[in-house]
């Protein structure tokens, strides 16, 4: 199989997730930029669309230890 080289750079969400411990995050479609936040998914989505991002990725923020311990 031909080696893929275009998607080898990890998307670094460390900074975004360290600054938001709750609520919903709307990210650009490539997930590299935080577009909007909201207490609910609907609010985050509406805010992103008002800023011109029609189809943002949606991620629920949570405290780090709850996200990643025990995997």
């Amino acid at each position: 199989m031909k080696e893929m080289v275009n998607k080898t750079t990890p998307v670094d969400l460390s900074k975004v997730l360290s600054q938001h411990k709750s609520g919903w995050l709307a990210l650009s479609p490539d997930n590299r930029t935080l577009v909007a936040v909201g207490k609910t998914l609907k609010i985050a989505l509406e805010r992103a669309r008002k800023l011109g991002v029609k189809n943002p990725s949606l991620l629920k923020a949570a405290p780090y230890q709850n996200l990643f311990v025990g995997q």
């Binding site: 998607k7 990890p10 997730l17 360290s18 997930n31 025990g70």
Partner: protein, 155 residues
């Protein structure tokens, strides 16, 4: 041709020591078969250890799916999620898997479980968990850690 997706870097500080991790998260689209125009895009954890795909209930609301109207046979309990338990409601939804490269997206329909409430805090991801039903039984997934994840239609 396979679609290619990156890993996601996150940092936490267990015992005040910086720890970087690369996680297999993936953006995917979901829509109700009754309304293919309304699509939302969760960023979920690709988890081959999960029997079923579980998605937060707020996505159902956004797709116009009323979980309160679910039939009794649509309701299930899922155990083992981060050591916890969650009640879900089964629905057929449409999936769009697209890496944004211009390669033809993969579209299919399969069952998912929408949670009735938020995920238990012990779960490794709070948005969506992509498991066998809803993801792996439809797709060939190749993990090339730490570079990328390849996704193809299952032959």
């Amino acid at each position: 041709m396979a679609l290619s997706f990156p890993y996601y870097k996150v940092t936490d500080f267990p015992r005040h020591q910086k720890r970087e991790r690369l996680l297999p998260w993936l953006r995917f689209g979901i829509f109700s078969p009754r309304d293919e125009e309304t699509v939302v895009y969760p960023l979920g954890l690709v988890d081959s250890g999960s029997d079923i795909t579980i998605i937060d209930h707020e996505f159902a609301e956004e797709l116009g799916i009323d979980l309160k109207k679910a039939r009794k046979d649509q309701k299930r309990n899922v155990v083992g999620v981060g050591g916890g338990k969650i009640e879900i409601c089964l629905y057929d939804v449409g999936f769009i898997v697209d890496d944004g490269s211009g390669t033809k997206p993969i579209k299919y329909t399969d069952l998912v479980g929408f949670s009735y409430t938020g995920f238990p805090p012990s779960m490794p991801q709070q948005t969506a968990i992509l498991g066998t039903i809803g993801f792996f039984r439809k797709l060939k997934v190749t993990f090339n850690f730490p570079k990328y994840i390849l996704v193809e239609p299952l032959q």
